[in-house]
């Protein structure tokens, strides 16, 4: 109890004294050393690695995310000995004069002979412009959707459909223009629609990385916006079994979520390990500051299982997962025609709303299932070669239940199946040179049924081949990559009882060049140039129908050619111990034949009324902007950070702005860190988000409603690891939109109808057994 008071007192200190304490002098022997330990091969974090400071005879173990901390160190030079069951022991001497972040990479036993050199090449500079989610961001965003989790990264925003559907947007691009790699396999669902959220259970993953530029070429040619890598933590190797329980509650929509994980490394055969996951989530209607949003509940049930077999020289991994969700869509948003839309917009509060809480989900709603089976083999050959084979199959079933005229069936069912085979060979040629060669094959088919046509049936075959070569030349690192993709698309239609078939073929080369220059011990400069092609997707070619959510009639064009993108990234990063961190990334993306949905006249006339018509057209576009991050830690207890993401998006053809692009946004966060014997890794952290009004909207198109005004949100988060008996319980308490601010966001397609959700108090618990 006394500890609890102590904890609360710390919170009070932060809230009352603010930054006063920031200037406090640092006493001697109060330095903190922290960082992470990861696998040198795949850079995955290593849990339970032991770190010993030889001179002090002090040691600690990394947590499951691979993080470690030493507190109250005196300045000086120390020898660190890092050991892990699977890896070679590493001994490193580190000088500490101020708080320091130090990351270690450990080589695997089985690679001992062939990879001593690999290590030195691999521990060279990071070439890609990428950003990973921190452990704290991850624990705060658990239980949310993938889009909401990723928007914590600079330069990533979300495209929203109401309060339930979130799609990640990287530098203004989304849907088919970014690739989601879930556990080493490209996620293949119905990504083309803005109301189609990625089918991923974030609890299965442990690492979320956004690759903003050139590095995405490994995963496919069409990643002209970037790639998102979602990876689980490695299977256990310490001959123990472990369970983890996660629970979360979200006050706004009274949503609860639970996740159970159980993993084991066999005692009888230490080569064998496995893990299972179960997640259940249920939420009701969300609430804006002034009213409930009818029919915005959701329900999700996911299971996953993975098993691995690991021997010197090879490794096999089988992964199976099932994802199933039912998402309610705000009932006031599905409008009948243009008149309904105008009535809905003219009304301050939504017209067709039932203003009360309920968990019930009625029409309109979506029901989505996604299944993945994956087999990964990894073996090391002679002459520094390592091979990796990934075979996977995904099935995605989507049922859309609109406001039906009479039927009980879904208006639209889409069923997409994808089989893929990826082969990768990595070669270490010397201390300073390494390369990769990859082959990818994909077969996909999509079948629709129901009473409402939107996209036709199709069959796709994609064959890809790529090569990457990496050099280390003094303070320079260099990476060049080439890729060629062949795609064949066969479309099957049936209009007025007449069946037809059409074929499209695309041959697309892509290339990237990345250079990194180490300016000094503290700073690095990176430049990425990538040239990528994206074949038009079937919706852009063939869509022809009513989009109920937007009351618009969309028409594709089957004569489209591929989009060609030239993206340039320039990043400067500076890290002075752990006291200063600066990261500035400037990006520019020139896209030729950018496929864009634009309004067109006349409106489509039907017996239901009139609908505005939108057609896909190809234009030349230029998107440019900057991501800026700045962090400063004054002492072991005070830390602050600011982030900014700026974006300009032009249509060069129409000499006008592009529509539906995120506006500039800024974030500031202050953290007070402390620890007591009972409450470890504790923090209290208020933050501020400011989003500017989007003033760069197309002048040629009069939107139904002008872009909403700028807004500022205040959020508060606090967390601690509480010791109860011999166990640790991780507790995170967050209050999003603390002041219950009423606002609308330009990137939410439902901004025409409703405000954004109001205050949301979030409690998350993590209990390791």
């Amino acid at each position: 109890m006394r500890d609890l008071f102590y904890f609360l007192r710390h919170i009070a200190i932060v809230l009352l004294l603010g930054v006063y304490a920031a200037n406090a002098q640092q006493p001697p022997c109060s330095l903190t050393l922290s960082g992470s330990v990861a696998d040198a091969d795949e850079k995955v974090p290593l849990g339970n690695a032991s770190i010993l400071i030889k001179e002090l005879e002090r040691s600690t173990e990394t947590d499951e995310e691979g993080h470690y901390h030493f507190y109250n160190l005196c300045p000086g030079a120390y020898t660190f000995i890092i050991t892990h069951a699977d890896c070679d022991t590493l001994s490193v001497r580190v000088r500490i004069e101020s708080n320091l972040v130090k990351n270690f990479l450990l080589p695997h036993h089985y690679n001992q002979l062939s990879t001593v050199q690999v290590l030195s090449a691999r521990q060279s500079q990071e070439l890609q412009v990428r950003e990973a989610l921190t452990a704290r961001d991850l624990s705060e965003s658990r239980g949310q959707t993938l889009g909401e989790i990723l928007k914590r990264l600079t330069g990533v925003t979300v495209l929203q459909t109401g309060s339930t559907i979130f799609k990640p947007v990287i530098h203004g691009l989304h849907s088919q223009r970014i690739i989601l790699i879930n556990n080493g396999v490209r996620l293949e669902g119905q990504q083309w629609g803005s109301e189609h959220a990625p089918e991923v259970d974030p609890y299965v993953a442990d690492r979320f990385v956004v690759v903003k530029g050139a590095g995405a070429i490994r995963y496919g040619s069409d990643a002209i916006g970037g790639a998102v890598l979602i990876e689980p933590r490695p299977l256990p190797t310490d001959q123990r079994s472990r369970a983890e329980v996660n629970a979360g509650y979200f006050s706004n929509n009274r949503q609860f979520v639970t996740n159970l994980q159980w993993e084991q490394n066999s005692k009888t055969d230490p080569a064998f390990s496995w893990r299972t996951h179960i997640t259940y989530k249920r939420g009701g209607n969300a609430r804006t500051p002034e009213y409930w949003l009818n029919n915005t509940g959701l329900q999700e049930f996911n299971i996953a299982a993975m098993a691995g077999y690991r021997k010197p020289g090879y490794r096999a991994e089988l992964f199976l997962s099932g994802f199933s969700t039912t998402i309610g869509i705000f009932s006031g948003s599905h409008i009948g025609n243009l008149t309904d839309l105008q009535n809905a917009i003219a009304s301050e509060k939504p017209l067709q709303n039932i203003d009360r809480f309920s968990y019930r989900i009625g029409r309109p709603y979506q029901q989505v299932q996604h299944y993945l089976a994956k087999l990964k083999l990894f073996w090391s050959g002679s002459e520094g070669r390592r091979w990796q084979l990934v075979a996977a199959h995904q099935e995605n079933n989507r049922n859309e239940y609109d406001r039906a005229l009479i039927t009980e069936r879904p208006e639209l069912s889409l069923s997409i199946g994808t089989s893929s085979l990826d082969l990768l060979r990595e070669t270490t040629r010397s201390n300073t040179r390494s390369g990769e060669l990859g082959l990818q094959a994909l077969y996909q088919q999509n079948v629709w049924s129901g009473s409402r046509f939107f996209i036709p049936n199709f069959r796709t075959i994609n064959l890809g081949m790529y090569g990457v070569e990496r050099w280390q030349l003094g303070t320079y690192s260099l990476e060049a990559a080439l890729r060629v993709d062949y795609r064949s698309l066969t479309v099957f239609r049936n209009r007025n009882g007449v069946a037809s078939q059409s074929d499209h073929q695309f041959l697309n080369p892509s290339a990237t060049l990345s250079v990194s220059k180490k300016l000094n011990e503290k700073s690095q400069l990176r430049a990425n140039t990538s040239l990528a092609w994206r074949a038009p997707q079937v919706n852009e070619l063939y869509v022809n129908g009513l989009h109920h959510g937007t009351a618009s009639f969309e028409i594709g064009d089957s004569s489209f050619s591929a989009e060609r993108s030239l993206k340039q990234l320039l990043q400067w990063d500076y890290q002075h111990d752990s006291s200063w961190m600066v990261d500035v990334t400037i990006h520019a993306n020139y896209i030729e034949d950018f496929i864009n949905l634009v309004p067109s006249l006349p409106a489509t006339l039907t017996l239901r009324g009139a609908y505005p018509t939108f057609r896909y057209t190809q234009i030349d576009a230029l998107l440019y902007g900057a991501d800026i991050r700045l962090e400063h830690q004054w002492s072991s207890s005070w830390k602050a950070g600011v982030k900014g993401a700026l974006l300009w998006a032009r249509s060069l053809t129409q000499k006008d702005w592009l529509q539906q692009m995120p506006s500039h946004r800024f974030e500031a966060q202050l953290s007070y860190l402390f620890a007591t014997q009972r409450f470890q890794n504790s923090y209290v952290s208020p933050s501020l988000l400011h989003v500017l009004r989007q003033t760069r909207v197309p002048g040629s198109f009069v939107d139904y409603l002008p872009a909403p005004p700028s807004y500022t949100l205040v959020n508060l988060s606090m967390g601690t690891d509480c010791r109860v008996g011999k166990r640790n319980i991780g507790i995170v308490l967050g209050i999003n939109n603390l002041f219950n601010t009423r606002y609308r966001d330009y990137m939410n397609r439902f901004r025409y109808f409703t405000d954004e959700v109001g205050r949301n108090i979030v409690l998350q618990l993590k209990w390791k057994l």
Partner: protein
């Protein structure tokens, strides 16, 4: 290594099963199957032959605009019993969906909104809650005039009341028909 081979075989079998269920080459018909693309209004008055007026859009939403919208010609100062029929046409095959709409009467209501002509419309049918549906109604026509009557079918699951404005819910049909009272 033999265990790995078995796992590979198993995975390939699973893939083969997974991808062989549905054939994309057997495509579904693209015409919307449940839209209303024909509306028939039947007017009856004792002692006279029934009057029938209709509107249709045989190729459905998009494509060509509605091919026929009749002018409703009625006698001035009379009482008519009116029945409306909602029909779906796919590839020339007609399906009457009026009974299904009446069966889901608590989710639907038909409105007739006159402009520049005088009409008094009384809905004569009721749903299970006792609220009007409007598939059957009586129209009392005013003096001779020319104008339009907007026929609206509103969809309002869970929000229907006894005397809603024509703007409550979503439009399943919004059809302005010219009208002449003579």
């Amino acid at each position: 290594m033999s265990s790995i081979k078995e796992v590979v075989m198993l995975a390939l079998v699973v893939m083969a099963i997974g991808s062989s269920c549905k054939k994309p080459s057997n495509a579904n018909d693209e015409n919307e199957h449940e839209a209303i693309n024909k509306v028939v209004l039947t007017f009856s008055r004792p002692g006279t032959a029934n009057l029938v007026f209709l509107a249709e859009d045989p190729d459905g939403d998009g494509g060509l605009p509605p091919s026929r919208v009749d002018t409703v010609r009625l006698a001035a100062g009379q009482n008519y019993a009116v029945a409306i029929q909602f029909i779906n046409i796919v590839n020339g095959v007609e399906k009457d969906i009026t009974p299904a709409i009446v069966a889901q009467g608590r989710s639907h209501e038909v409105f007739y909104i006159p402009t520049t002509v005088q009409l008094t419309v009384t809905k004569t049918d009721r749903d299970l809650s006792g609220f009007p549906i409007g598939v059957n109604s009586t129209w009392q026509t005013g003096s001779a005039a020319i104008g339009t009557v907007l026929v609206k079918l509103m969809h309002k699951t869970g929000i229907k009341g006894p005397a809603d404005s024509p703007n409550v819910g979503h439009s399943d049909l919004q059809l302005p028909m010219p009208i002449r009272l003579q």
